[in-house]
């Protein structure tokens, strides 16, 4: 809606070349992104051109506002675009009101720009406050209270990482399975009794202070013996008849005497 001859002091950051006649004597670049809304932009247009806010040249401001909007609106999401368009419509409405011829009898109670000016001044007021708050926030962040430096972590072993690759893992699994599956069975297997394993563990623990876990199934070699031995140890550990130790991750397991000298469930064996 601008007419030729209107000063257009604003050009928008854009890669498209602007026709020369749209550029005023001192074009400045406006990046729509940095404005929080239409009031913010309007205020910027007014203040940066040293326009008297109490006497806004609506025609000029409206065309500048629209020019900025034309360039940037494509990049905006729908809600934001709607907010800017609403302001553009408001500006046009004000401009139309000012253009209406006024006869002697009709007295306006208020300048059509007055409402907009009030909104702009109010908005500017809160913008000032937000700057005050920002400085206050900065100052406050230079003071520190108890607890800013966090305590040292209690456990020193917590963060140990186990580093091994898939190859290592598969190799270890292969070795474990190999040990367990040394025999080839042609006959149906008798089940391996966990009860027997428990008895075995008790016997061995009675004789030696420490027994290697693998001794519990290696002589027989089968996977079933390994599983039964594991279950036996878990049960005895639960009863606190034995303790199980391991020097490090994936290290050999050792069975040791537990706290209870006499096993309350001994009669089960």
């Amino acid at each position: 809606m601008w007419r030729e001859g209107d000063d257009l002091m604003v050009t928008v950051a854009s890669s498209k070349p602007r026709p020369r006649d749209l550029l005023g004597p001192e074009p400045f670049v406006v990046d729509l992104e940095r404005f929080s809304g239409p009031l913010d932009l309007l205020l910027h247009l007014i203040r940066s051109q040293d326009i008297d806010i109490l006497d806004i040249p609506i025609a000029r401001i409206t065309s500048q506002f629209q020019a900025v909007l034309d360039e940037g609106i494509q990049q905006m999401d729908l809600d934001r675009a709607g907010e800017f368009l609403e302001m553009a419509a408001t500006l046009i409405r004000i401009k139309v009101h000012l253009l209406l011829p006024r006869s002697g009898e009709i007295e306006w109670d208020e300048d059509p720009r007055a409402e907009l000016v009030r909104r702009l001044l109010e908005y500017e007021h809160f913008q000032e406050i937000s700057h005050v708050l920002s400085r206050a926030e900065g100052d406050r962040s230079r003071h520190f209270g108890k607890g800013f430096i966090p305590p040292r972590s209690e456990s020193t072993t917590v963060e140990r990482r186990i580093e091994f690759g898939i190859i290592d893992f598969m190799e270890a699994a292969r070795r474990a399975l190999e040990r367990a599956a040394q025999r080839v069975h042609t006959a149906p297997l008798p089940g391996v009794s966990v009860r027997e394993k428990i008895a075995l563990v008790r016997r061995l623990i009675g004789k030696a202070r420490r027994v290697a876990f693998r001794k519990l199934f290696e002589p027989w070699g089968t996977r079933q013996h390994a599983v039964a031995a594991l279950l036996a140890c878990l049960e005895l550990a639960r009863r606190q008849v034995i303790r199980v130790e391991q020097a490090g991750p994936f290290g050999p397991l050792f069975v040791l005497r537990g706290r209870r000298v006499s096993d309350p469930a001994q009669e089960e064996t």
Partner: protein, 206 residues
Amino acid sequence: MRPAQIVEATLFASQSPLTPSELARADGSLTPEIVERSLGELREEYEKEDRAFQIYNLGDGYQILTRPEYAPYLERFDSVPRALGLSAAALETLAIIAYRQPMSRVDVEEIRGVGSTTVLHTLQEWEMIDVVGRGEGLGRPLLYGTTRRMLDHFGLRDLADLPRLEDLPVTLQVERTLEVPLEAPPEAEEPAEPEAPADAHQPATA
């Protein structure tokens, strides 16, 4: 043992501001008045001895905090880069609520001219605002107000610490309505400032 020493011990052990009443709980002999006096004593002492910390008034409470000069040293212990602070939109919205509370989302949007749902959520997450009630009108909208945490975050004693309206460079009140007589027909509107108001009327004073 002086009361001030008890107060000092209690303050030292606290990670957040304590009110005089809360501090007075440290001993039967303490009252809020005695606590206030002690705080004054301690502050003077710290000032005189040039301690690296001081007792600051945040919201309705007091906390021992390091003096700002030591920030560069303490920041070296920052293992996690701290958040930069609230965005411009959040600060704007907070400013509005701080001065006009309680406010509904719609009230805020009318002043800002933009949608504010997200910003209000952010401010609630940061515990700068909270729901303080519901409006009377249609829909009984939620009303927001600022929190004690907000005062702490900005290092304010209370909202009165924020500038009064009159102290700011811009004013809200337009004392006289603007009058624009349109003597000339529309075509005469120039690219430069319209002449009409300057001649016939004084521009409204702010």
